[in-house]
Symmetry: C2
């Protein structure tokens, strides 16, 4: 692999990074068989595991939910090493299918598994649980550096401890794979010059979403059971939704980011928050419970000092359905999903009302947040891109240069924008509180799309409104799988007249065949810092849908 | 009084503002007698009430603590109107003695009192309680505008609702007086071109502190029983300490500021927080309990969603005494106060250790916070001063132009400073956590000076380190009265060799006679967002001191 010193071109740095990744994957033992060559991969990767993995590996990676798997591990009905090896091999398969990994932690994971198996008693809330992690989250013990998808940072020593991961480690988990993210970590897809493009495991012509799209592709292949993402505009929820897994974005400052590596350190007008991406709902609460039980605010003092306190509804929650956001009409399968879930909730005895957000002007929210993402006009990241000579990707151009709101701000302009943000937040909060006026019960959660539709074709994720809205408001939000695109039921409305350019762009993108079988998910949103209530509402909604 | 339209000079605007104030004071009925002319006021104002007020007024304003007074009001053993009139007259006296008011709310307060007396049943947690308020806090119903001490804002319509005050109003309080603050609201004294200088009720040659120095002078005269201040660098604690009352600065975002009027709106790198200034300890918890029971986060969404949850020590707290801050040696009476309280705590069975903060570099904290106060280089406030033509006061010059750290920052410079701030906070948190290592109990609170000494002579409050340190860290902190300067016990250490320029400045300021009888207070500091624990610790400490 050689050293990175004096590598003259960005392409050589990329080759070095990929060689590092490939070397980590070459450790897989036994080798994976039965995977077609890259050029001959099927559109959907869902049938690949049957060909490449053993029945036992498939059982371990597919048959158990998180709680069940943890139970088996704790009771030592399965060894940590066997579980770890199964997920390592399945992750390698996911990489071959979707290009979702930056590194497989083969040696470290097996060493860790053996250590845990050697303990006289299992210990820790995550004993033996494999956890996959996003590349820009610094880690102790990982071989490679943390480039955060900047070629300029490839091979530079940016690892190091990470408070959240230290907590999981202390609770007995096994880190086994690190996953891709896009250039600048600010696309709702996953493409970088360092590792190329990550694709959707249900349809390689579609994106796995982003920015935590390596995690979603991996989890969508069941190559992981619990992953860690981060979300500042949809980066957990959009990819989770696009592969039909669960994802949760807490309010900021509930979960720590100390040890994460990305541009914009010290920028605090809009911030991201790490959160879980999991194959089942249990994983969301488990993640939060374990993360907060460690009292991370004692180490990272900007975090909110508040224990995790599970919420219990004493009567069925009141749900407000946001059918559209007043800017862009969702695609037909999304509207069908909303209808199906709303009906189920109503049948289960919940009060279901409409969330009419047109007067709340979601477009204004986007104008504010898109400017607050880059109060330096994007100078820092553009400089990092320039530093290596790597090309600026189209979705980077979209989110920085094509947003009319983005410019380098003076301090006074920044203050003014923060005031606008706060006023917008106050208006939204007021609207929410008002639902409880005149003898009505206040709305508990909003049920809404996590995107205008299923996963988009590559390069088309150019409308963030359905997720970024809740980042601007700092509301906690969970996504959960509902259905799949079904051409028989999700016909295009040929009479629809788009209301604006973005609406037109989104409308024209849709044809049922293009998205056939793609997962369709929904989003549950709560008021700021009501993380516990959102997860409780999600449980009620899923029960109404007939799930356990 | 006339209108403000077309007033050409800043002096005329000032005259207009003072005439407004004087007209509000002219309503006092019966008139106050027995107060010497301004030029003949005694050094201490403590004996003035006896001459000017009736025995019953003195009883009402002096004889009861807050809990007791609220009890009498609730049981209707005293009418709200009688209480209100007594405090109104005593506040007018305080104004004559210390120049602490911007407006006496004579008519409104009496009207409100009559209304409360007319209710068939008393209602609200603050039923009938007079509350005084700092001028820059917007208010509904106040006649005059909110100038925030800028001549440029005099007479402009900047009142309006204020979330915190609305809460108190809903709980049945009576607003009766509005109080002075300094130019820019960023001095630890109280002098503005609008209202002149506010003086200490114990010694008119000393400051009442600042920026909530109108409140402290008023409360130090017992012209109010509970006032609302705000603190971004010491503005509650310093003035409370200088007049021997109680004050409490919560962590930011625990209590709301919606409706406050000051420069720097939208600046969020360092923020202030309102808090109580009271004649007794009960008032601190009462303020917090009532403020948070209203769930202000539902209206002001940036606030922390966390109920007020009283803390109970199950064993005596562990106290760390900070004898000095590593920069400036406190004056002898302050060191004596520390020693007396530490001894009392030890005698009461508490573990008392030293807080050695030299390795924690408090000077560095000042470098960070002094820059973060003015990321625009002070441009906005200097512009406001220039706009009217009012002169810049020496302590404005001190905190903006004389701080080498202050300059207009680029966004990247700002981010860098925020990273430094967060790193500093993390180091401090780590040091605190470490006190719990090796089988030791972790320190519960730090006991430290709230200032290098008692109230300073006017213009000398040029070292903020003893309070601003806890703003940078965002730690909650309460001040409480301990003793008074006693020349017999507080001799100057003539052998002391100052360690730096600031230390020299502070050392040379001291002579026991100059501060004779000035109140000396101490400060109790807890970890971030542990408001409840700080107040519980203060109660334990005061019990150790033999107080109820």
């Amino acid at each position: 692999m050689g050293s990175l010193a004096n590598l003259p071109t960005w392409q050589e740095k990329v080759s070095w990074a990929r060689a590092q990744r490939d070397a980590s994957l070459a450790k897989v033992e036994p080798k994976l068989n039965g995977i077609p060559e890259a050029d001959n991969l099927p559109l959907s990767s869902q049938d690949l595991p049957k060909a490449a993995l053993t029945a036992r590996e498939i059982e371990i990676t597919e048959q158990y939910g998180i709680t069940e798997l943890l139970g088996l591990l704790r009771e030592r009905k399965v060894s940590v090493e066997e579980v770890t090896r199964a997920f390592l091999r399945r992750a390698a398969l996911a990489q071959a299918a979707t290009n979702c990994l930056t590194e497989l932690l083969w040696d470290q994971a097996i060493e860790r598994a053996k250590y845990l198996d050697s303990l006289p008693e299992p210990r820790g809330a995550l004993f033996g649980l494999p956890i996959s992690t996003k590349e820009h989250h610094g880690m102790v013990g990982a071989n490679v550096t943390t480039s955060a998808s900047f070629v300029a940072w490839v091979g530079k020593a940016h690892g190091g401890p990470n408070l959240l991961y230290d907590t999981f480690w202390d609770e007995g988990c096994v880190f086994f794979a690190r996953t891709t993210q896009p250039q600048t970590i600010m696309h709702l897809e996953t493409e970088s010059n360092v590792y190329g493009r990550t694709v959707n495991p249900y349809n390689r012509d579609l994106t796995s979403g982003g920015s935590s799209g390596g995690e979603s592709a991996l989890l969508g292949m069941r190559g992981s059971i619990l992953g860690v993402g981060g979300d500042i505009g949809g980066s957990i929820r959009c990819p989770a939704a696009h592969v039909g897994i669960y994802g949760f974005k807490p309010s900021i400052k509930r979960v720590g980011t100390a040890g994460f590596r990305n541009a914009g350190a010290g920028k605090e007008t809009i911030q991201g928050c790490p959160g879980p991406m999991t194959v089942d709902r249990d994983g969301l609460e488990l993640f939060m419970k374990v993360a907060l039980a460690a009292k991370p605010w004692r180490v990272e003092p900007s975090l909110t000092v508040k224990e995790w306190t599970p919420y219990k509804f004493t009567r069925p929650p009141k749900i407000a359905v946001q059918w559209w956001d007043g800017v862009v009409q969702p695609h037909p399968p999304m509207t069908r999903a909303l209808r199906e879930v709303a009906d189920a909730c109503r049948k289960a005895g919940m009060e279901v009302v409409d969330w009419n957000c047109e007067p709340l002007d979601h477009r204004k929210a986007w104008d504010i947040i898109s400017a607050l993402y880059w109060p330096d006009g994007g100078k820092e990241v553009l400089g990092l891109i320039k530093e290596s000579g790597e090309p600026m990707l189209p979705l980077t151009k979209f989110i920085i240069e094509e947003q009319p709101t983005v410019k380098e701000l003076t301090q006074h302009e920044l203050w003014k924008l923060c005031v606008e943000r706060d006023e917008y937040r106050a208006r939204y909060a007021q609207a929410w509180s008002k639902t409880g006026n005149d003898g009505h019960r206040e709305v508990d959660v909003i049920l809404c799309p996590p995107s205008f539709g299923a996963a988009t074709p590559h390069g088309q994720s150019r409308y963030w409104g359905y997720t970024a809205q809740w980042n601007l408001l700092d509301y906690p939000a969970a996504v959960f799988p509902v259905t799949q695109v079904d051409p028989a039921r999700d016909a295009k409305d040929l009479d629809y007249v788009p209301k604006n350019d973005q609406d037109k762009f989104v409308y024209e993108m849709y044809s049922p065949e293009r998205f056939s079988n793609a997962p369709v998910s929904l989003q549950v949103v709560g008021r700021r810092q009501e993380e516990e209530k959102v997860l409780a509402a999600l449980a009620e909604i899923e029960r109404a849908m007939g799930r356990a």
